[in-house]
Symmetry: C2
Subunit: 364 residues, 2 copies
């Protein structure tokens, strides 16, 4: 069978092309799973592309969005899942329960969908306190109510002591696309503006502080929140002007921008001074030796919008309680394709790569 696009190539060219394709194919070089494979950065991406996408191959999965957009019965729906293994289970501003609900609601929102229904799968460790489970479930129910979704189906498994860490939650969600949208990295073009919906890194730093790994106390809480509200405000304000939406979870804003730059074949240039970071997050990140751009948020998203309509987009976001500190942080340029550059306040420029390793394990 002739593969599409190769019909007019000579046999030699076809062989060379095939070699090149194999060469470029992502490969997992490690023989065993490391924490980095779960960190959301480079190792995760390679694992996903080399193992999962390679085997499951289908257009919805290959789009590699926060969820899959599917044609069902004439309409379009979004479908997504996330597993949550955050440690500790309870932290300032939330717990694994509302984190799981908001996380799945947000993945649907990033597809441009109206979240409707959630499922919840629990993996519990023998000996886990029933009262803690009760608290998690109550928090899920409250988050679901806040987001206007219903948890309609679930499952519970129990493993022996020492085969889990209290409680893991996997949520999946479905939503419908009411709008005629084609969101995705493919729509991104030079001249577009890059926005973030609020101050970054608060969730990740809150978790690190809750673990007591830094000997500081700070008045800080997770940013976990359902984002379909500000997303709807944005989509209403600049119809047809939003290119792509991504929530900045594992790997943070830097990783999201790298994925977008790579997928769009364009450059993203970020002005460091424009990125909203609260002083306490900044301080904690300095102690941790990590750039806030790599720290997970659970209630912030990145939006790439038509550059000419960036101000209207910003205004719409800022008018929403969950976007009041939104900011235009950068722009899309043609070159250097696939890269993210940071303009520093002192006039320098440096490359911001994807997250490598796992400086902040089990953040969500």
């Amino acid at each position: 069978m002739t593969e599409p696009g190769t019909a007019r190539l000579s046999r030699e060219e076809q062989v060379l092309e095939r070699i090149e394709r194999v060469r470029r194919r992502p490969r997992v070089r490690e023989s065993h799973i490391t924490l980095a494979h779960g960190a959301g950065g480079k190792a995760t991406q390679t694992l996903v592309e080399a193992l999962f996408v390679e085997r499951f191959r289908n257009p919805a999965l290959e789009a590699l969005g926060d969820g899959a957009v599917l044609a069902v019965d004439g309409g379009r729906m979004a479908f997504t899942t996330d597993s949550f293994v955050v440690s500790p289970l309870f932290f300032p501003g939330g717990d694994i329960g509302d984190l799981a609900v908001n996380g799945t609601v947000n993945d649907l929102a990033m597809c441009g969908a109206r979240p409707l229904y959630l499922s919840a799968g629990f993996i519990l460790e023998e000996g886990f306190a029933v009262d803690d489970l009760r608290r998690i479930v109550a928090s899920m129910a409250a988050a679901a109510e806040r987001a206007g979704v219903a948890v309609v189906t679930g499952d519970t498994k129990v493993v022996e002591r020492g085969k889990a860490d209290g409680c893991y939650v996997t949520t999946a969600g479905v939503g419908v696309l009411d709008r005629d949208l084609e969101l995705g990295a493919a729509a991104v073009r030079p001249g577009d503006a890059v926005l973030v919906s609020g101050p970054i890194g608060e969730h990740g730093v809150t978790i690190m502080l809750a673990r007591g790994e830094l000997e500081i106390e700070a008045d800080l809480a997770s940013d976990t929140a359902p984002l379909h509200g500000p997303v709807a405000a944005l989509l209403d304000a600049v119809p047809g002007g939003v290119r792509v939406l991504r929530d900045a979870t594992r790997g943070g804003v830097a990783t999201v921008l790298n994925e977008l730059a790579r997928a769009a074949g364009a450059a993203v240039v970020v002005r460091e001074s424009a990125v909203p970071v609260r002083p306490v997050v900044h301080g904690a990140c300095e102690l941790l030796g990590i750039d806030p751009l790599y720290v997970a948020c659970e209630g912030r998203f990145v939006a790439v919008v038509d550059g000419d309509r960036a101000d209207a987009a910003l205004e719409a976001l800022r008018a929403h309680p969950l976007g009041e500190d939104a900011a235009i942080v950068g722009r899309v340029e043609a070159e250097p394709a696939g890269m993210v550059l940071l303009e520093t306040p002192i006039g320098g420029t440096r490359i911001i790569d994807m997250l490598v390793g796992d400086p902040l394990p089990r953040i969500c």
Copy 2:
């Protein structure tokens, strides 16, 4: 607000009714999670009803089917999830990968839905062999292809060594209801026939043998298989005649029948001699000291059908490769409501309760 049905009760009657409702409300008496809470029997049911249903309250969840049936955009869809923690990960006849795909396909099939899309959430233990993950993913891909579904979205988390057991998989699935069906325990009535689609207990016994807990070797493999094919054959053969479908996983056929009897407010009478059990399963169950009726299948289902059309239903099932050993095993009677009775070959009758405790942990 007056609650429906209470409008004509006196204030005193209303108070008494409310007290009675609270008294009947399921309560988790244990302070900590035990393996029994994950076994699919009585403890699981209490946990689900007392914690999850109580908090998440919505009609789709309260139906307590294998999945939720939902109205979306004028049509009807089914949505379901299951977490898989089976040990060992690889066993004769399958592995955690095809088990997870088939399990979710089957939950959709039991709703009368045509399975379409699956999600997969992986929780991996640091140090897990990448080749084992590759093998699991390959097995999922093959099972998805066999069942005609696509894995369209997923997530991967990694936890530290000793915080999981290699690999846990949570699948969720969506499907559409092409048929105008109202399946559910509410449709069950005296005179209905009870069928099983094939010999029971093979999956559970295979897992126990694979763990080496019995010092016997047997030519036995898991029955894991996608059941939407035989279900479609059944629904086509007796349109309007199928009351309810349930796959007999954790807790086995006995637990499914107890749930149905309770929900339908009817009795189920099973003829022990009519229940298909392979001799090797029978033998292993004797050694384990457990009734095959409580042992999980992953490729068999229970169908309650109109008693007058039981023969046509049986014929249709037997004509399908995954139902060739199907059997009519019992009937529904009015009394004693909520109970399952077993007629033994020697003319006796005994009560078959739900599964209590967890004789076979981590079977799926």
